[in-house]
Symmetry: C2
């Protein structure tokens, strides 16, 4: 009596990721081309949301956007005044931000073929991307990420989201952006602390996927620590490529399975961000998370001391910390950070899956971590953090 | 200086649609099998949301669900008490309903591999499906649609959504359900008015895709009007098949383009629902919408009078109306219903695309409607609605 149909289909997704400079120069067609690529014959309605911090650093950005639209009036039409709102985790924690964006899109009569241009870091991209993905079941979003982290990693990918119930990214969707424009000019005005923090994701992806990229980062450590334009542009470009290739080829772009190999070092990073109320930025937390899992690999006999040292010392050379006092905080059932493991499992669902390293450039998945070894790793990092600074650098030479 | 990468990948989606009876009979494995099919070795955490109207008609449903989970305790585990909430458009208009569901899922510690079972009509499916799709970027949703409309049409598809700013489905996503279980037992307790209204979508899909199905409906008109079990079960099954095949094969399952051929008769239907504050149900509005566009096809010389008569008289024989006084309502710029055309365009975006008929079973897309001919069609339907009832039936014989 029971009859079964299997419904089976694929959703083909495609978007350009354009690396360019001076996105709003009138003669730069990158943005206009990306927006109008599907219907070159009609004028595209678009509007722009800019992160407040970016708008402060680039006070003429909103006017330059409007000028750009006017200069491309054959293909573009501005649908509403540019909206300037806070970004970072602050905006993802604001329970009213999402509804305000929906109202803004509604008032501008955005439809599924209109385009929202999102200029800002990863937090703003996540919030506005989520609002766009849920309006009319998806208006077009063009991401213009403005930080090292978002240009190299999250901003070129397919996730969006906001925080709720104290949980990072509790709400969100998977949605391909309509296009991504990466303009390294924006990195010039980043505070050094933020720029360097964003490099943690590049270390992470290099460690899992690309030993040559890791070697390059070590060779360029001082240029990267100084946020030198050429080095940072290459880092962003290579990291974005690795991220895009992973999404396209790893077979599970919308993460229906339990594995998330690009999340090396992330189980503790997510927890540290929440525990510190985002005093630690995502990148800073990821740097510490990489440190914890790297040392764990040594304790578990997976990774050599010298490989681990090359990782930890690169993080330190960039000026990132491997330790935070939050790691010592005790909860009702032991060290609070260790709860991050269960929360990490819960967010993705199914079995716990953590990526570790079998060597530089070689990830491996495991389904349990040994708490004893984890505590040893934490204790190693605490001791290391207490070494006098001068003791650090000599030990980093290979 | 500008460099371009094209990111291209496909997201493979697959879900079973199971036609069965007595879903919660302990010996019926359909639901347990569907939930555990990806990880048969582990217990699946699940919970159930039931539409209040369904829970009233089936007072032991919540207990039967819990008994079913206990009877399948090797594969299933109930994660929280069953939630009973209002359904229909009412729930899609309630601005607090979505947040309450998110809180319910959070309290039950639902993760991306947990399952929400949704028992109710299309409105509840849309709301709870949207809440599930946005929690952790998508917890699993098993749809158990309980109305003719949702079993035959929306409940087996990939859309969800809620209303906002007075616009139907202003917020929502495309998301494949994890499984759909169609149990025609639920139709036994449907009010006749609701059962028959749901058949409007079957008429629609038959008119666009399947002339044999349309002929079958005409032959079975009195059995369908009487909501006879065998006839309604076949209608639901065939309509669901046509809907699923369209999604899988028409090449645009997430509707990135401008065409929506399955929406014959829908531009005015959506508007009529809003204009009447849902006094007209979706199915009732679709019946009128089909009537308007069918008559338009005659006025435009696309469809013969006799084909149109077979359509209009089938709608009447089912007991559905072809007219509503809201069609006469004047807005600031003319007949209010005609604004539905622009709202229809806006929801999908891009160019206006409306499906018309070249004949029974043969849809064709057009990008503009002639307002003069539309007014003639409305006037025809108004006159027809004023005919004495007795005059209707003789003219319906072929």
């Amino acid at each position: 009596m029971t009859q079964l149909l299997i419904q089976r289909f694929s959703v083909p997704l495609e978007y350009p990721v354009v690396f360019t400079r001076d996105i709003f120069a009138a003669e730069n067609n990158a943005l206009a081309d990306a927006i109008s690529r599907r219907e070159p014959q009609r004028r595209q309605r678009c509007l722009c949301v800019i992160e407040a911090r970016v708008a402060e650093l680039w006070p003429d950005l909103s006017a330059r956007f409007s000028d750009y639209v006017r200069a491309h009036s054959g293909t573009l039409e501005q649908a509403a005044q540019t909206l300037i709102i806070p970004g970072a985790e602050e905006c993802k924690n604001d329970p009213e931000a999402l509804g305000k964006l929906h109202a803004y899109f509604e008032a501008a009569r955005m439809d599924r073929h209109s385009t929202v241009i999102i200029i800002g870091g990863g937090g703003l991209q996540d919030l506005v991307g989520y609002a766009a993905a849920t309006t009319h079941r998806g208006v077009r979003a063009v991401r213009v990420p403005t930080t090292v982290l978002s240009q190299a990693d999250s901003g070129v990918g397919v996730k969006n989201g906001v925080n709720a119930f104290g949980k990072k990214n509790f709400l969100g969707t998977f949605a391909a952006p309509f296009a991504v424009i990466v303009d390294p000019s924006f990195l010039r005005t980043l505070p050094q602390r933020d720029a360097v923090a964003g490099m943690a994701e590049a270390i992470k992806v290099a460690l899992i996927k690309d030993p040559a990229f890791f070697a390059w980062m070590r060779a360029q450590a001082s240029a990267l620590a100084g946020v030198e334009d050429e080095a940072v542009s290459y880092l962003v470009r290579r990291c974005a490529e690795l991220h895009l290739t992973h999404i396209a080829t790893a077979g599970d772009p919308f993460e229906f399975g339990s594995a998330r190999p690009l999340d090396f070092g992330h189980w503790s990073a997510h927890k540290l961000e929440t525990m510190t109320h985002h005093r630690l930025s995502h990148g800073e937390a990821v740097a510490i998370g990489i440190g914890i899992d790297t040392r764990y690999c040594v304790e578990a006999g997976l990774l050599s001391e010298s490989d681990a040292e090359s990782i930890l010392s690169l993080i330190e050379q960039l000026g990132l910390s491997l330790w935070d006092s939050a790691l010592e905080r005790e909860g009702p059932t032991g060290l609070e950070v260790l709860h991050g493991l269960e929360e990490f499992r819960e967010h993705l669902g199914g079995e716990l899956t953590v990526t570790l390293l079998d060597g530089i450039g070689q990830g491996r998945e495991v389904h349990a971590l040994d708490l004893g070894l984890l505590k040893k790793s934490l204790s190693y990092l605490r001791t290391r953090a207490r070494r006098p600074k001068s003791a650090v650098h000599p030990s980093t030479s290979p």
